[in-house]
């Protein structure tokens, strides 16, 4: 049995320790907010936090999470359900289109702002370049991150 701390809750799972965190979360813990996109850490859809740092859960065995805190998209809102300011910024900017990549994008963005509350555009790009959005909402993602950081949204997309 593997003991996990996930979104602040203690859970135990009976799985092969080599199983990637992604599949433990989705299948054993029934939390489908974290997504499968490529399986080789190339797209970012599977991003979760391990002790606050973003990791690719498709390529991280669950054994690596023992003794650490896992946070998934389901766990970043407040206890009372108040959305994280990044999530609120995402809604304000109407970021998601199909939405499939957005859990991973949001997890990367929240980790970025936790580490660096006032990122430059170059820092935003560096933190987010590992994330593919097939619907192409990159400009809105950058604008939402700036807004969540309390900066002007910028003019990448103007209508």
């Amino acid at each position: 049995m593997i003991k996990l701390n996930i979104n602040g809750q203690a859970r135990e799972v009976d799985v092969d320790p080599a199983t990637p965190i992604l599949w433990v979360v989705r299948e054993n813990l029934d939390m489908t907010g974290t997504k499968f996109g490529c399986g080789i850490a190339q797209c970012g859809a599977c991003t979760v936090h391990l002790d606050g740092k973003p990791v690719r859960s498709c390529s991280t065995p669950v054994s690596a999470a023992e003794g650490k805190a896992i946070t998934t998209i389901e766990g970043i809102a407040g206890e009372d359900g108040t959305l994280h300011r990044v999530q609120q910024a995402w809604i304000e900017a109407q970021v998601p289109q199909c939405g499939y990549c957005q859990s991973g994008q949001i997890m990367a963005a929240t980790a970025l702002l936790q580490k660096n509350p006032a990122p430059t555009d170059a820092q935003i790009d560096a933190a987010m370049a590992g994330h593919v959005c097939r619907c192409g909402m990159y400009n809105r993602i950058r604008q939402a991150i700036r807004a969540a950081a309390g900066q002007p949204a910028g003019t990448e997309t103007v209508a």
């Binding site: 320790p17 080599a18 399986g39 080789i40 850490a41 190339q42 690719r56 498709c58 390529s59 065995p61 054994s63 690596a64």
Partner: protein
């Protein structure tokens, strides 16, 4: 304008079939276990039962995870990672056609079992900037098995 015009977004122009034959069932169906039955212990692979071959079999099974990015057969191509046929004993960075990271190309490593063990345990720690961003194996026994399997890959 005829009604036979194909539909833009349905490349299968399907009329509902009445009583169509179902699509073919399995040609071969191996039922290893019923869904509610307890999982069986991992059996040794068929073939001879020596500890060495058991280790190689275990390594081959573990290699399944690696095979997302690496092929193991002779002459098979590169994927996200290079082909690993005959890798044991080779200098690092030599698989034809693979774009290795600078770190690996200039590392001077020769892939002895010990070097493989060190690398697979923590690829990014051993070679910063390595393209092997996934697939590290933290379990020493499992690494041993995978390396045994890699060693077994020789021209037959």
């Amino acid at each position: 304008m005829t009604l036979a015009r194909p539909l833009a977004c349905l490349s299968l122009f399907m009329l509902p079939a009445c009583g169509a034959d179902p699509a073919p069932g399995p040609v071969e169906q191996m039922v290893v276990r019923e869904p509610d039955a307890a999982p069986v212990a991992i059996a040794a692979a068929a073939g001879n039962d020596s500890p060495a071959s058991a280790l190689i079999a275990e390594g081959k099974a573990a290699f399944a995870n690696c095979s997302v990015c690496h092929t193991a057969e002779q002459g098979a191509g590169n994927r996200a990672g290079p082909n690993l046929f005959g890798i044991v004993g080779q200098p690092a960075g030599r698989a034809a056609g693979f774009a290795y990271s600078d770190g690996l190309k200039t590392s001077g490593i020769v892939w002895t079992a010990a070097e493989l063990d060190r690398f697979i345990a923590n690829p990014a720690g051993r070679i910063p900037g390595t393209k092997m961003i996934a697939g590290g194996i933290s379990d020493a026994a499992k690494r041993q098995a995978v390396i045994a399997y890699l060693e077994s890959l020789t021209a037959s």
